[in-house]
């Protein structure tokens, strides 16, 4: 039994296509784990199966030793939270009401109003993503970046032990990207298991403790960024040529892409 999220030989087929082929990997508790790979690598599929959004066809997925896809959905919702790639929605809720959706798994259907604990979790999550002063604003009047921060806050309000995010930094400006990733890393440091899909490899290298690399449904590598990110891997998986540098302050890897020849 391990703390954290474990995939064992997870395979998914859709007709003839193999979306995931016997993928085994782990996202450890207390660490920020990045899921990287080009479009169509199977990142979203892997995350969705873990959260019960797609059926598990073969293999095993456990969280803290418990079977995650087979878990009662309400219990699972009290344990895990998911931030999807956001589609613009015509939602007539205020920012605070959107964040309060995260408390639904903790409320009984007979309960008329949120409990004080619900209110506290909502206010804390709003403050964590820097949106406290926007609490009364209508969601649909906010910018894409602000909406994305609220989605993260909604997930935080769920007080999850496992936090799964699909491209949470899309639509965000640089400063907001860094603040969201810093926040997620703090959550990991506080004991949560955080798994996030990222497109930006430099952000992944700068923030993640571990990287899982998927390519065409196969697991290519798992390990710390400095071990995983090599010119050979970038060429094989992303079909780009790049040099790896070191961040002068943190010593973490940084990727300098070679320009394709004309």
């Amino acid at each position: 039994m391990s703390a954290g999220l474990t995939f064992e030989a997870v395979s998914v087929r859709a007709g003839e296509a193999v979306l995931l082929d016997a993928v085994s990997c782990q996202a450890h508790a207390g660490r920020l784990t990045g899921l990287i790979g080009p479009n169509g690598a199977g990142k979203s599929t892997l995350m969705r199966i873990a959260l019960g959004l797609l059926p598990l066809q073969s293999g095993r997925i456990t969280f803290a030793g418990a079977d995650l896809p087979g878990m009662n959905r309400r219990v699972r919702a009290q344990l895990t939270a998911f931030v999807e790639q956001s589609g613009a929605a015509e939602v007539q809720l205020t920012a605070r009401e959107v964040v309060a959706l995260g408390r639904i798994p903790f409320q009984s259907i007979w309960q008329a109003s949120p409990s004080p604990a619900d209110d506290m979790a909502v206010e804390a999550a709003l403050a964590d993503v820097g949106m406290a002063s926007f609490a009364e604003r209508a969601y649909h009047t906010l910018s894409g970046g602000e909406q994305q921060r609220l989605q993260v806050a909604r997930a935080l309000a769920q007080a999850p032990q496992l936090l799964v995010l699909d491209e949470p930094t899309n639509h965000l400006d640089v400063q907001a990207q860094l603040s969201i990733l810093t926040l997620l890393r703090q959550r990991a440091r506080a004991g949560a298991t955080v798994l996030l899909a990222l497109h930006d490899l430099n952000l992944a290298a700068a923030f993640c403790d571990e990287l899982i690399v998927l390519h065409q449904g196969h697991l290519v590598a798992q390990g710390p960024p400095e071990a995983v990110l090599t010119p050979a891997l970038l060429h094989d998986v992303y079909a780009v040529r790049a040099s790896l540098l070191r961040h002068p302050g943190t010593g973490r890897p940084m990727i300098a892409y070679d320009m394709p020849s004309e």
Partner: protein, 337 residues
């Protein structure tokens, strides 16, 4: 625990409904005071009051006007609830039992049973028709390439047209003289001639189906960002959707069997309520029911009083009020996407 403004709102809406019931009963050719209405109701409920109301006036209140007002209230509450729930489940701000074809399907089912000589089973026919129309609309929406509001409306229009044509054909084929006129007036949505039996069907349906649906309020909130978001908040999306859509079809069927296809109430009321209370369904659903009840009482009172002694089908009034709101919502939605 309810919060202060919510308590005030709910007290206000119940007071509005009670006042609407009593005042609406006073409207009509025989001049009856609110006090007489109250005395009559109190006496029939077995409350200890000294009633000086004559038997004729008692009958006008108790046998003629009160059942009709209660039917109106039940239909308004039920349609507003069905509209709000369909809007949430399909994430379609234009969803309404009438616009998505349920009401026409229910009419077709009810007329079929009526003309087959099974007038008592009309609610069953209406439910079957509503269910079939809903299934057809959802299927066509999917065939059109997925659930966007405009596709769902187009599918609803097609299903409505089909059901209406089938209904007209049935009437043309088998109805004669008086029954023809009666059916036509009922089809346009009319509460004339409603009895305590009708009131029983409507209030029974609203209490048995509507009240349990209120419990789904918080789960419906979870649908704000779609099915996946709802599922990761612990909602059994498939089960809830089937339960609620089934209950919506049943309730619409019962309402249409009594009042005919009264359109736009399910569209108007939830949108008006959202302006005031926001979109949280825990609050939206009960408020929409209460406001829908009062709204329908007054539109029906207008329908029978405006051109007295002639009666306007109440569906004409709701359509007159609803069509502009439909356009406003449509324009707003177009701008937002």
């Amino acid at each position: 625990m309810m919060r202060g403004p919510q308590i005030a709102l709910s007290v206000g809406l119940w007071a509005l409904l009670a006042a609407s019931i009593v005042l609406a009963v006073t409207f009509g050719p025989a001049d009856i005071s609110p006090h007489e209405v109250w005395q009559t109701i109190a006496q029939h409920l077995g409350l200890p009051v000294q009633s000086g109301v004559t038997r004729l006036r008692d009958a006008i209140v108790w046998e003629l006007r009160l059942p009709r007002v209660l039917v109106a209230a039940g239909i308004g509450a039920g349609l507003a609830l069905c509209g709000a729930i369909m809007q949430a489940l399909t994430r379609n701000p234009l969803a309404d039992p009438y616009l998505l074809g349920l009401s026409s399907g229910a009419s077709f089912g009810a007329v079929t049973f009526l003309l087959a000589g099974a007038a008592l089973l009309m609610p069953v026919g209406a439910f079957l028709g509503a269910g079939a129309a809903m299934a057809l609309t959802l299927l066509m929406t999917r065939l059109l390439g997925g659930a966007t509001p405009s596709r769902a409306i187009l599918a609803g229009i097609a299903v409505s047209a089909l059901a209406a044509a089938a209904t007209s054909f049935l009437i043309f084929w088998s109805a004669t003289g008086d029954s023809y006129r009666e059916i036509l007036s009922w089809l346009m949505g009319s509460l004339s001639g409603t009895t305590w039996g009708d009131a029983g069907i409507v209030t029974g349906a609203v209490l048995l189906l509507g009240l349990p649906m209120l419990l789904a309020g918080r789960a419906l909130d979870a649908f704000a960002f779609g099915d996946n978001a709802a599922a990761t908040l612990g909602i059994d999306v498939v089960r809830l959707r089937w339960l609620l859509l089934g209950a919506t079809a049943l309730l619409t069927g019962a309402l249409v069997a009594v009042g005919g296809a009264i359109g736009f109430v399910g569209l108007i009321i939830p949108h008006v309520v959202r302006l005031g209370t926001g979109s949280r369904h825990r609050l939206l659903l009960p408020v929409a029911m209460l406001l829908g009840a009062s709204f329908m009482i007054w539109t029906d009172t207008a329908a029978r009083s405006l051109f007295a002694p002639r009666e306007l089908p109440v569906g004409i009034i709701t359509a007159l009020l609803g069509a502009p709101i439909f356009l406003l919502v449509l324009l707003r939605y177009r701008r937002a996407t």
